[in-house]
Subunit: 343 residues, 2 copies
DNA sequence: CGCTAACATGTTAGCGCTACCATCTTTCTA
DNA sequence: TAGAAAGATGGTAGCGCTAACATGTTAGCG
């Protein structure tokens, strides 16, 4: 039986040209092509030119998966946030993205939907991609997640809040922010103040602000009633929150909202109801979104530097990745009380 | 010289446990572990249990980079948008992300900053990651980018607008949207109508809406003056746009803004100036953002189903990835004229 | 009981790239 | 001019996983 030789086993990869083919076309070895593309300064200029020519001719696109496997590191940065529906996280992401992208890193975005188990799953997946670093919103994680990240040898950055962190930490003190606004309202002479939040178990940073708020009111010997809405921040929810305050606490003279979406929703709703702000009811928010600064009366709120927080976090991580000393593991980006006409 | 044998050359990868180690711990071969994790139905239940046990004991995290290299495909979906500063793209991304993540795909997000060369670079990078599909906002690409995507054998989805697409296409007809609003304004009796846009060369979809707007005004024998602002949509820019209209076209009775951010900024600014809307000047927008629906008077605008567009696009891509027939390569998600009190 | 089909598992050979070491050439120094 | 140092390039051996094929094992059938 003169059967034809079955030949070596073949697999089809992608049919894209490979480094090897570029090398052949340029008359050099594969490693030289690799160097010409990744560390051009280590290759003779003339050689590099020939390589680039071959790359263009063949339409070569480097296989980054193979490169990452061989070098045991990708240029991915894992970024984990609880929600994409909240402008706050989007702005932090923007700061991160800008800064990392400029340095050739690619963001891998994950959304936990405020679920710590989901976060753990995302972390697992992202570790599987040999990310160069991981940035996550918040200091609260599941035990399993702590276990994974604790043993990981790459930079871990926790943003948004300050506290006991795994590694790097950039954020602001939410409790102090809550105290700050409560003090402002007291300073304005309000004594009957209601806090309105939404899902404080999930948006626990708002819960921390509420805690600060309570401290100040307690110290002044005042009640600190809370109304908790069952859906996250939105203009609609804010309007509903105002209605609830008017119903449950007719004596209320000021409302401290957990965020600007709620506060602005309430403010616009108050106008529709014919209520004067702050004459009939004062309204304060948190975040400093543009929205609240363009309504009349302008919203009193606390500005948090979100995009800057993202940028700073990225810079710290990059410094670590460049093996430069990180001056401070923890950095407070602070906040600014912006007094508008709504209080 | 009885030097010790240098032994085989060693490289350190990550010191994470590997499939092989799990296999040894479970007393099976590596491929069985692979199958137990990826295609559990192809492995005996008892074996699978032993594998899972070993995985947990060792804290094994699969190396997805290696898996992707071996299988020549990652579970990445490349998503390219021109900006993260615009709520519109965020909402489309949210629709995409939700749908893809539920099916175990990971979004790779890229931001072109409205630069087609940047888009080409991103596409190159993403192809290098063996993405399963690519979703990009818009139908306009550089020639180089067309070249790359034209030869690519994975699904390509272009969203936001409708037209001659590379492969799949989900969006809406912006020119028709422009016509629709112009007709509405004419129907309301306005004759002196100014269009205010921002960077129409970059936000060319707004340019398409302007083109539709012009058609309708032309047909009615009316002028269609344009004011173009030099920064992208924001409340501030909208306020500036109103000022410019009042200065340059004192006879203007209505302003058709390119988007809701501009329109709402102008509306709030008009209130600060003491102008009646629509009595002194009518204002219309585009997008149907919540913002515009909560000001008084409520903004007349055109609602585009952004999150739904993202979901639909993702579903079409998934259908293709599942080798199911795609009923329509092109799908129009339409839009809705929402008449408020601002016109 | 022999034959086949379905299931379960293993063996082998890469996927395309880069780390590591080796080699060769050129330049500089004493 | 020898010897060292620096620069340029190449060979080899994996990185950790899965595709493709091969083999063994059990069930099903007349």
């Amino acid at each position: 039986m003169s059967n034809s030789n079955p030949g070596p086993r073949r697999r089809r990869g992608s049919d894209q040209p490979t480094l090897k083919q570029v090398a052949d076309a340029a008359g050099v070895s594969p490693i030289t092509v690799s160097r010409a593309l990744n560390t051009p300064e280590r290759v003779n200029e003339a050689t590099r030119a020939r390589v680039i020519e071959a790359v263009d001719k063949l339409g070569y696109v480097p296989n980054l998966v193979a490169g990452s496997l061989a070098s045991a590191s990708s240029r991915f940065i894992a970024v984990i946030v609880p929600s994409l529906a909240n402008a706050v996280f989007i702005e932090v992401i923007r700061g991160l993205q800008e800064t990392f992208e400029a340095r050739g890193y690619q963001i891998l975005l994950g959304n936990t939907d405020y679920d710590l188990d989901r976060e753990y799953q995302l972390v697992r997946t992202f570790l599987g991609w040999s990310c160069s670093a991981l940035v996550t919103a918040g200091l609260r994680h599941s035990d399993a997640c702590h276990g994974l990240l604790g043993h990981w040898d790459k930079p871990v950055m926790e943003v948004m809040e300050l506290g006991e962190a795994l590694d790097l930490n950039v954020g602001l003190d939410h409790q102090e922010a809550g105290r700050c606004m409560a003090r402002h309202l007291l300073g304005r002479g309000y004594r009957s103040i209601v806090y309105v939040g939404a899902c404080l178990d999930r948006d626990y940073r708002a819960g921390m602000r509420f805690a600060g708020h309570c401290q100040v009111l307690d110290a002044a010997g005042l009640d600190a009633p809370l109304i908790e809405l069952d859906r996250l921040g939105s203009l609609e929810a804010g309007a509903a929150g105002l209605d609830q305050v008017l119903g449950d606490f007719p004596e209320a003279r000021a409302i401290h909202f957990a965020n600007d979406d709620l506060a602005t929703g309430a403010l616009l709703h108050a106008q529709r109801l014919g209520l004067r702000v702050p004459g009939d009811i004062a309204i304060a928010g948190f975040n400093g979104l543009p929205l609240g600064q363009h309504v009349t009366p302008r919203l009193t709120t606390i500005q948090s530097p979100r995009e800057a927080m993202g940028r700073l976090a990225a810079e710290q991580v990059l410094r670590r990745l460049d093996h430069q000393p990180v001056t401070q593991q923890q950095q407070d980006v602070g906040f600014t009380l912006m007094v508008g006409q709504s209080t």
